[in-house]
């Protein structure tokens, strides 16, 4: 099974279906603006762009709202924006707490150089669709929650629970400490957050062998951010599943079980974050009985002139959170810096990370490169109220087994047209900067990928 497939939980299909039906049936009851607006926008009666540069990327105000546990910055207003109540739960609550993202890939054209020597370039067409149901909000002052359920129809119609956590905010004083407990995305407050990407994640494709300590054939490189990728060839998680070199991991994992604290005790210019995770990509349990931990600091300049700048750095210290062939434990750690500059219509951000594998079994050093690096830089420009164009650069200097490891470099171009603030079309093209070569290298076989898609959030 692949990393992605392992996270699917069929039993949750009902949850999504039920939530969806509840939501959809409640929807016509309350549409405050001319536009249909997702949960928070509905609750506060504001446009999506109050919090987003353009959905789904947060703007500096949206970041403050997120940091304060889904409460207006400087307030503890959780739960107080109350409407007409029917007991403790109102019908309004349904639309105030639920949001649905529906994305359809209209056309995807993938240009592959097949790994089997002699085969022709190949063009594939596909129409995968994504449905994500979010339920999030505050239940009372300083107490909030977030649950994200995703189903990607092209891979499986099952539902994956992504993040699911509870927030406790403003502990010890306004902005002193905000706590998250559960399955959370550690890098949510970093300069380049893992979540809400403007670049729809493009997953990899695999072929057998699957199974414990087997290395599946990667038939198509994925297009996730390289800075956040695992970067190593030849690592397995604690259950023996192969860790894809491009899967987001460690500090930039989409979700890991743990506890995380952040705050701004000295004012808006400085944010701290510390956290402890089970680590090891484990959905449940903690088989290694040791924890990974991380610390992040971020410096912000947010004053005036439509300008905001931030710089951040983190260290993530792994503890027996992976294995190598043969089953020996190793530890993966990551150090990274990130920066973001927003000025009027321009938004530029990026991250550079260094990953290290330590505690390698003796004798392995000679065949295993224990250091890898990755860089991702993205830029977006809002060229009109409804048009956002962007570009992205990804480079991974891969580590791991010297015999198989392959570095990769990709460039992406993208244009989005927002029909409404909650509905947009995307045209995207990614291409491989490196020459294709023979052999079985997914890092080189994906030459170009062109995609047109539509997203709707409501």
């Amino acid at each position: 099974m692949t990393n992605v497939e392992r996270f699917f939980h069929p039993s949750l299909k009902t949850v999504l279906a039920l939530g969806f039906v509840l939501f959809v049936t409640s929807f016509p009851l309350r549409v405050p603006e001319a536009e249909a607006l997702p949960a928070f926008a509905r609750k506060y009666q504001v446009n999506c762009n109050v919090c987003h540069t353009r959905p789904p990327r947060l703007n500096p105000f949206g970041e403050q709202f997120l940091e304060n546990g889904y409460q207006m910055p400087g307030t503890e207003d959780g739960g107080i924006v109350a409407k007409l109540k029917y007991g403790d739960v109102t019908l309004d609550d349904v639309s105030n707490y639920f949001a649905v993202l529906f994305g359809v890939d209209g056309v995807t054209n993938v240009n592959l150089k097949r790994e089997v020597p002699g085969s022709e370039d190949l063009t594939e067409l596909g129409t995968p669709a994504i449905v994500r149901l979010f339920t999030t909000g505050t239940v009372t002052e300083n107490v909030g929650f977030f649950v994200d359920m995703t189903s990607i129809f092209s891979r499986s119609s099952d539902v994956e629970i992504g993040r699911a956590f509870i927030t406790l905010n403003n502990l010890g004083g306004m902005d002193w400490a905000h706590l998250r407990v559960g399955r959370l995305d550690p890098s949510a407050y970093f300069s380049m957050a893992r979540g809400r990407p403007h670049w729809v994640p493009v997953g990899p494709k695999f072929a057998p062998p699957f199974g414990s300590f087997a290395t599946p054939t990667v038939t198509q490189w994925s297009l996730f951010q390289s800075a956040y990728a695992s970067k190593f060839y030849g690592l397995f998680d604690r259950s023996g599943a192969f860790i894809m070199p491009f899967d987001s991991t460690l500090y930039n994992s989409p979700e890991e079980v743990g506890i995380d604290v952040h705050g701004r005790p000295f004012g808006d210019w400085f944010l701290y974050q510390v956290g402890v995770l089970n680590g090891g990509n484990e959905r449940a349990g903690d088989s290694n009985n040791s924890k990974d931990w991380y610390v992040m600091t971020r410096f912000d300049y947010t004053q005036s002139a439509y300008l905001s700048v931030n710089l951040s750095g983190f260290g993530y210290f792994g503890n027996h959170n992976a294995k190598v062939l043969g089953g020996a434990d190793v530890s993966r750690s990551r150090y990274g810096v990130g920066a973001r500059v927003r000025y009027k219509w321009l938004d530029v951000y990026g991250a550079y990370t260094i990953d290290r594998v330590t505690d390698l079994p003796t004798g392995m050093e000679a065949i295993f490169d224990s250091t890898a690096t990755g860089v991702t830089v993205e830029a977006h420009a809002l060229v009109a109220d409804r048009v956002l164009i962007g570009t992205r650069f990804d480079h991974m200097d891969a580590g791991g087994l010297l015999a198989t490891r392959k570095s990769a470099t990709f460039v992406g171009l993208q244009a989005k047209y927002y029909l409404r603030s909650n509905m947009w079309f995307t045209i995207r093209d990614d291409f491989n900067v490196r020459d294709s070569e023979g052999g079985r290298s997914a890092a080189r076989n994906l030459r170009n990928r062109f995609n047109v898609s539509i997203d709707l959030v409501f």
Partner: protein, 253 residues
């Protein structure tokens, strides 16, 4: 009958607001300092450090069109109970902060009322005029006219006669000639569109009949939405007819 009492209480509330004395309680230096720190946490990100409406998040809501976050340094306010060109009352600013502005500024009712008064005091320091000028409150005579078929009918005629439709469109959907021609701009020279009058949830200055009457008397300064005080003074009934008509567009009364 219910509607009559509702309108009457609202009108009474309006009169109360209009007659309340400006700056009822003494503002201390301490309040202003507290207001500053609240402002920096909650408002700066949009309104900017110097109050110019150029905070780091001010650009995104409508990047190339209005409304941008308010520039507090020029003393131009939309939501007032004072005559056009006058500064707002403290109560007006307080109300905006409490209710928020549908579409663009969230409600800050999560701040305690003391905190909201403190931030009002701080916002006023951005514009010197607040020290010198005395806001002139609009005067309304007579009692509200409750909504009835006859009032709505007269409002409809007034809406056409007073040329509201040139901006708001014949059906009030915001698609009048002038609007469609792209001729409307606000005081920051950003293109602005007239409200869709069939959807009162988006009305920024409030959506009760007395709110609409206030809007018509004060105008929305800094936007093309004019004050109709000179036409409506002495014809307050007409203001209520217009308000009743506008509210009837969405099926409300």
């Amino acid at each position: 009958m219910k509607a009559f009492w509702k309108n009457l209480t609202m009108a009474f509330g309006l009169v109360l607001v209009l007659t309340s004395i400006v700056g009822a309680s003494e503002v201390t230096e301490h309040d202003i300092q507290q207001g500053k720190s609240i402002y920096e946490r909650s408002c700066l990100i949009c309104h900017g450090e110097s109050g110019k409406g150029d905070g780091p998040a001010a650009f995104y809501n409508a990047a190339f069109s209005a409304p941008r976050a308010r520039d507090f340094t020029v003393g131009n306010f939309k939501f007032r109970s004072t005559v056009s060109g006058s500064l707002p009352l403290d109560e007006d600013i307080f109300r905006t902060i409490t209710n928020g502005i549908p579409g663009t500024m969230p409600s800050f009712s999560g701040l305690s009322s003391e905190q909201r008064w403190q931030v009002v005091a701080y916002i006023k320091t951005f514009y010197g005029g607040f020290q010198e000028e005395i806001p002139e409150v609009i005067k309304l005579a007579g009692l509200p006219i409750l909504s009835a078929a006859e009032s709505v009918r007269r409002g409809k005629i007034l809406f056409q006669d007073m040329d509201c439709h040139s901006c708001h469109g014949r059906q009030g959907r915001g698609d009048g000639k002038v609007a469609l021609a792209g001729e409307l701009h606000d005081s920051r020279d950003l293109p602005i569109s007239p409200n869709d009058l069939t959807n009162p949830t988006g009305w920024k200055n409030g959506a009760t009949a007395s709110d609409v009457v206030r809007t018509l008397f004060t105008g929305l300064d800094g936007t093309p939405m004019p004050s109709y005080e000179s036409q409506l003074i002495g014809h307050e009934d007409d203001a209520w007819h217009l308000a009743n008509y506008l509210l009837s567009l969405s099926g409300q009364n």
